[in-house]
């Protein structure tokens, strides 16, 4: 059932996970296993979506790939090198965008290059170019509070791209947006993905989002999170939600998830 799906590229994987596990030890309680035996290769330029019930550890896995959390078991490699900590090559975009409110949009995007001691003129140039690319050229001098939620997420994308990230990771980036904005942002994201050539790993619990965006969907089990199955989505882009194949996939993911959601619920009730 877990037959490995061949990756679309024969090049060295952008991210290689093998036997990865994560165990939390909360104070005053026994250890909690959040993730177990995750094997996954993400090819350069691939769009992968992590889909799973709440609390299955898919966000944790994202943080681990980003280098913000160490793995308790297994090996994690990025571009052939072990992941030992965060790196600007693996940009992470949070649900709330997390722009610094004390910087203008331009300075937010230029923050990464400024840490890397890039000269002021040069880094402003880079930041302006990235903002143009995400369609925020008019917003450079605004403060984050003045932007809408969708614009803030685009600025966060620009900030990650300014560091020439090879892998863009997104933790439910559109969950806080309204439905119309969300659809627009999905189109925008596909465009950014094509332009930048980066791999994208996106965490979501929305089946529609997974089918609309992914090359491959990694479905997780309820806690402890394991890879239940990996489903390639080979619909041509742009994808039409009214396409019958879109429907079939949606139904299939719905069935795959239903069992896990039931299990997650049962576990929560028992606690």
């Amino acid at each position: 059932m877990n037959a490995p799906v061949p990756t679309p590229s024969l090049r060295r994987p952008a991210v290689h996970l093998s036997g990865v596990g994560k165990t939390w030890t909360p104070a005053g309680r026994g250890p909690v296993q959040a993730l177990r035996d995750v094997d996954l290769d993400i090819a350069p330029g691939e769009f992968v979506v992590f889909l799973g019930p709440s609390g299955c550890g898919k966000s944790t896995l994202l943080y681990m790939i980003a280098g913000l959390e160490p793995a308790s078991a297994g090996t994690m490699e990025a571009d052939g090198l072990p992941i030992t900590g965060p790196s600007a090559e693996r940009g992470l975009i949070f649900q709330d965008a997390s722009l610094f409110p004390w910087l203008t949009i331009l300075d937010n995007v230029a923050f990464g290059p400024s840490i890397g001691a890039v000269q002021k003129l040069k880094r402003r140039e880079i930041a302006a170019e990235m903002l143009r690319r995400v369609g925020l050229a008019d917003m450079m001098d605004k403060k984050p509070d003045e932007l809408s939620g969708g614009m803030r997420q685009r600025a966060a994308c620009a900030r990650a791209l300014a560091m020439r990230a090879k892998v863009l990771m997104m933790d439910e980036p559109f969950a806080a947006l309204d439905v119309q904005t969300r659809a627009k942002m999905q189109d925008f994201l596909l465009q950014i993905w094509r332009d930048s050539g980066a791999s994208i790993v996106l965490v979501t619990h929305s089946i529609d989002e997974a089918v609309a965006l992914a090359d491959r969907v990694v479905v997780f089990t309820a806690r402890p999170g394991r890879v239940k199955t990996i489903v390639p989505v080979d619909l041509p882009r742009p994808r039409n939600p009214r396409d019958p194949r879109f429907h079939d996939l949606r139904d299939r993911f719905g069935e795959l998830l239903a069992d896990e959601v039931d299990r997650a619920f049962a576990e929560q009730e028992a606690r």
Partner: protein, 309 residues
Amino acid sequence: MAATDVPLGAVAPVSAQSAQAAPGQGRPFAPPRYPRLRAGLATLGWSLASLGLFAGLWEALWALGFLNPLLLPPPHLFLADLPATLKYFDRSNRIGSRSEGGGVMPLLATIGWTTMRVTVGLVLGFVGGVLVGALLHYVRLFRNLVLPTVLLLAPISPVAWLPVAIFVFGIGDVPAIFLVFITLFFAIALTTSTQIAAVPVTYLNVARIMGADTRQTFFRVVLPAILPGLFMTLRLNLFAAWMVVLIAEAVGVGSGLGQIVSLARSTFNARLSFFTMAIIGLLGFSFDWALRQIQARMLWWIAPQGGGR
């Protein structure tokens, strides 16, 4: 249930019509021209009216004979003979020096000495407080050893430190500065450590992903994030700082506005007392205003009161 359907269906077209008609109706909410100038003038007008009302009541009570001008001289009396009042101000900052003539320059010098003590005390208290607060947060051994003592010392009124300050530093500028320092130091230290703990983790994660080291993270992310809270604490303690500096000057320093207040008390000089009070009030107000300006510059990204979040 059918009854509710009828008015709903009937109301909808009416509201659509009124929505269309609204822009045409003589613009009852036309925005005023020069809104900032108007708001500024209004504030100034009300301030003058408030002050006038207060002074007018005082003067009226005096004119009706309810107030003894020796004890509670109204403004026109305590502002009347300025040269005589200014005689009590001394240019030098020496203890026990005799007043020699007085005048406007000595008045400014007195104000200057007091302002200097407040400013130096505030700066030292702020910097020291941030330093100790950061250590309290980041160094566990320091926190375990120091925090309980800080929590015990913090509630002690700064005035209670006055004898200690004089024992240790002697009579002079230092006890007054020390008292202002104490007023701000504990509050800023505790604010700093709690505010650092409240900095959103995602801000720190962004800094880590961008490759910021500890120093860069502190100065470029943590400090800007806690600055609004620090400014709030600073402004809340500003008036307390002005209070303690006067007490310290009255007791432990030979000069300054506190010394003048003390002199007015011991010589039963109501005019001098009220004159000095007016000066102190103006100074405190200007200090708070200046701090608000600095705050608006440094915290430009925070919307002014009420607006935004």
